[in-house]
Amino acid sequence: MDVTIRKKELVKEFSPMLLKPSKWSKIWMAILVAFILYGLVALVVQLTKGQVVTGMRDNVVWGIYTINFIFFLCLSYSGAFASGVLHFFNTPWKNAVSRIVEIITVVSLIVGPIFIILCMARLDRLHYLFIYPRIQSPITWDVIAITTDLIGCLLYLYLTFIPDFAILRDNSEGLPKWRKKLYTSLAIGYQDTPTQRRRLHKITKIMSAMVIALAIVTYSVLAWIFSLTLQPGWNSTIFAPYFIVAGLYSGIGVVIIAMYLIRKYFKLDHYIRKAHFLSAGVILLITALLYGYFTFSEYFARWFSHKTHDANLLETLFNDYFWMFILANYIGILVPIAIVFFKKLRTIKTITFAAVIAVVGLWFNRYLIVVPTQETPYLPIQDTRPEFVHYSATWVEWALSFAGVAAFVLFFMLLMRLVPIIPMSGIIDYEKKGKVRRDGLTQQQQP
C-alpha cells in the first residue's frame, strides 16, 4: 500500500468537511451564534445590575451556574478518562471515536469554568485569587487543579492533532493561503520520520496517562467543594468517587450523542459503525449500574439512619422536588439500564435515546445535590423575606446556560472545520498494520 497516495485520498475524502460547510451547518452555526448573543445580553444585564437579576438569594447562593459548572467539568473529566484509556491501552477500534472524545474534553473544560466565574459576583476582583491566595481554601485547590488540567488537556489534544496537520499541509491542493500557513505552523515541522513518529507516540502515551490522573484529581477537588462543608446532604464521604462515576456516566452519554449526530450529518457511517455504539452502550450500562449503586447508597444511608437534618432534606426532596427526583434518580438511571441491558433493544437509535436520558437525568441529579440542601440548612429558614426562601432560575441564568451549551457545540463544530473528525493518521496506521480493511474496522467487530 502506498502511504502517500492513501494520504492524498484521505485528504480528498475529508476536505469537503473542512472547507465547504453545508447549508445545514451554516444554519446551525447561525442559530448557535444567536443563542450566544442572547447569552451575552444576559451577561451585560448581570454585570450592570449585579446578581440581583439571578434567582440566587441569601439562602440559595449557588444556582444553575454552579450546576452547569459541575456538569461541564464532569464531561471534560470523563472525556479525558475515556480518551486516556483508549490511547494508553491502544484499543483497536478507538480511531473513530478518539478525536470526538478529545474535543469534548477540551471544549467542555473551556466552557465549564466560565460558569463558575459567572457565579462570582465581583468579576473585577478575579485576580485576587492569585494576589491573595489561601491554600486552605478548596477554591484555591480548584483553581490550581483546573488550570493544570486545562493545560494538560490542551497539550494532549494538540499532540494528537500534529500528524493530521502534517498530512493536511503536505497533501491538500487548492487550500486558501491562510489555512496552508496555519497547518504549516501548527505541524511544527513534523515529517513523519521514524524518529519523530516514535517520539510523538511516546509523548502522547505519557500524556494520555497524565490526563487520566489530572482529571481524577480535578473532579475529586470539585466534589470536595461540597463534601468538605458541614451542610446536611453535602458532607458526604462518598462524594468524590460518586462524582467521578457520575461524570463517566454523563460523559459516555455525550460521546454517544456526538457520535450519532456526526455520523448522521457528515455521512460517516463507514467509520462510526454500529459496533462503536454497542461498545459505548455496554460502557453506558456499566457506568449506569455503578452510578445507580452510588446514588442508592447515598440516599439509602440518609433515609435509614434518618438524622433530623437528613430527614428534613429528604422531606424537601420528596415533596418540593418529587418529579425532579423521579426523573433524575429513577428514570435517568433505570431507563438507560433497561434499554442497554437487553440485547434485542440495542440499536443505534435506542442507545442514543438512552444516552440523552442519561445526560438530562444527570443534570437534574446535580440540581438535586446543589439546590435542596441550601433550602434545608441546619437552622430552619425563618425571619427572612418569603421571596428569599426558594430558588428558581431567572431568564438571565437560563439564557447564559443555553449560551454555554451553544458555545460548546459551536466550538466543537469549529474544531471539526480545522481537522478531520476521524484522525487520518490513525486510519493509515491501521491499514499499515494490515489488520484492518479499508473501512476501518476489524473483521470480528463487524456487527
Binding site: R57, A121, I135, T229
Partner: protein
C-alpha cells in the same frame, strides 16, 4: 493572654499546612501563599512599657504598642485584621428572657445602615422536640474558634482575629459565596445589588463597622468592634429592654448585659449554658442559657408587624395558632 487550647490548635494546623505546602511546592502560587500564611504575625513590640491597672486590681506592665490611644479613630482594613490585644470576646444569650421584641434587630440595622429586610441578627422560633414549647432564639454570628467560613475563603477576605472576632473585609471579597454555603448556621448574607447608601462616603470603610456596604460582597454580624474600642457594648446588647444578651471578655471571665455584670464561668455553669450545634465542632463563642422559667409567654413575640409574623408561617406551632385564630 491567649486561650492556650486555641493557640495549640492553631499552630498544629499551621504546621500541617506548611508541610502540605512543602510537598506541593511546585504550585505556581507557592511563594505568595507562604507570604500569606506568615502574615498572621504577632504584634510588633515597641520596647516602650506602660503601667496599667487590670480590672482585678493588679498593676501590670504592657507594651506601648498594645494600647489603643485613639478609641474612635478610623480602623483601616489592614489594622482591623489584628484584633484588640489580650481580649477574647464572648456573648451569652439568655433564652428565658427573650420575647421577640426585635429591638436588637432594629438597633443593629440602624447602626450598620441595613435595610428593613436585612438582618445581621435574626430571631428564630425554635422547638427542640415535639413535647417542648417553642422559644425565641436570637441568632447573631457565632464567631467560631474553628470557623468554616474562614477556612474556605479563597482570598482571605474573611478572617479570624486574635480577640476571637470573625470579620469580613469587603474590599477583598470576590463574591464567590463559598463562606455562605459553608456556614452551618446560615449567618451570612449578601449584597445582591448596588444601593444608593453604598455611595455615602462620609465615613471611610472599615471592616469593624461594615459600613458602607459594597455590591457583590458578603456581610454578617461583626460583634461591633468599633463600639468595643470605645468601651461600649454592641448595639444589640445595649438596646435589649429585657437584658437578654450578655457580652464580655472570656479572659476577664466577665460578661454584662448593661445592667448586671456577672462572672461568665458562673453564668454558664450555674444555668446550664450551651453552644448551639456543638457536635459540628465549630466551637462558637456565643453561648445560650436554656429557655427555662420563662419571663414572658411566647405569644408576646407575635406583637409585631404582620409581615414579620408571616416569616414564621412554616413553624408547626404558628400554623396551629393560626388555625385556632390566636394570631
Amino acid at each position: 493572654m491567649k486561650d492556650d487550647k486555641t493557640t495549640q490548635n492553631g499552630t498544629n494546623r499551621r504546621k500541617f499546612l506548611k508541610m502540605g505546602l512543602l510537598s506541593g511546592a511546585t504550585t505556581v502560587a507557592g511563594a505568595s501563599l507562604l507570604a500569606n500564611l506568615t502574615s498572621e504575625e504577632e504584634l510588633k513590640a515597641s520596647g516602650e512599657k506602660i503601667r496599667v491597672l487590670t480590672p482585678d486590681g493588679k498593676m501590670v506592665e504592657v507594651d506601648a504598642e498594645s494600647i489603643n490611644n485613639y478609641p474612635e479613630a478610623h480602623i483601616t482594613p489592614e489594622e482591623s485584621r489584628k484584633g484588640i490585644p489580650g481580649r477574647k470576646f464572648v456573648m451569652v444569650i439568655d433564652l428565658s428572657k427573650c420575647k421577640n421584641a426585635r429591638t436588637c434587630v432594629e438597633s443593629c440595622q440602624k447602626a450598620h445602615h441595613l435595610d428593613y429586610n436585612e438582618e445581621y441578627m435574626k430571631i428564630l422560633l425554635l422547638q427542640d422536640h415535639e413535647e417542648a414549647d417553642p422559644y425565641w432564639f436570637p441568632k447573631p454570628c457565632y464567631h467560631c474558634d474553628e470557623p468554616p467560613c474562614v477556612t474556605v475563603c479563597p482570598t482571605g477576605a474573611t478572617f479570624k482575629r486574635d480577640d476571637g472576632i470573625v470579620l469580613i473585609d469587603n474590599e477583598r471579597c470576590i463574591g464567590c459565596k463559598f463562606c455562605v454555603t459553608s456556614c452551618p448556621y446560615s449567618v451570612r448574607q449578601f449584597h445582591w445589588s448596588h444601593k444608593p447608601k453604598f455611595d455615602n462616603t462620609d465615613l471611610p470603610y472599615s471592616p469593624e463597622t461594615s459600613v458602607p456596604g459594597e455590591v457583590g460582597t458578603v456581610m454578617k454580624c461583626d460583634f461591633c468592634p468599633d463600639m468595643i474600642r470605645q468601651g461600649k457594648l454592641p448595639h444589640c446588647v445595649s438596646s435589649c429592654p429585657m437584658g437578654v444578651i450578655y457580652f464580655g471578655d472570656k479572659n476577664e471571665d466577665m460578661v454584662t448585659n448593661g445592667e448586671e455584670t456577672v462572672r461568665f464561668s458562673e453564668l454558664i455553669n450555674d444555668r446550664g449554658g450551651y453552644r448551639y450545634l456543638e457536635h459540628l465542632g465549630t466551637k462558637p463563642n456565643v453561648y445560650y442559657l436554656p429557655p427555662v422559667d420563662r419571663q414572658f409567654p411566647l405569644e408576646r413575640g407575635f406583637d409585631v408587624d404582620e409581615e414579620i409574623i408571616e416569616r414564621y408561617k412554616d413553624v408547626p406551632y404558628v400554623q396551629d395558632m393560626k388555625e385556632k385564630g390566636k394570631i
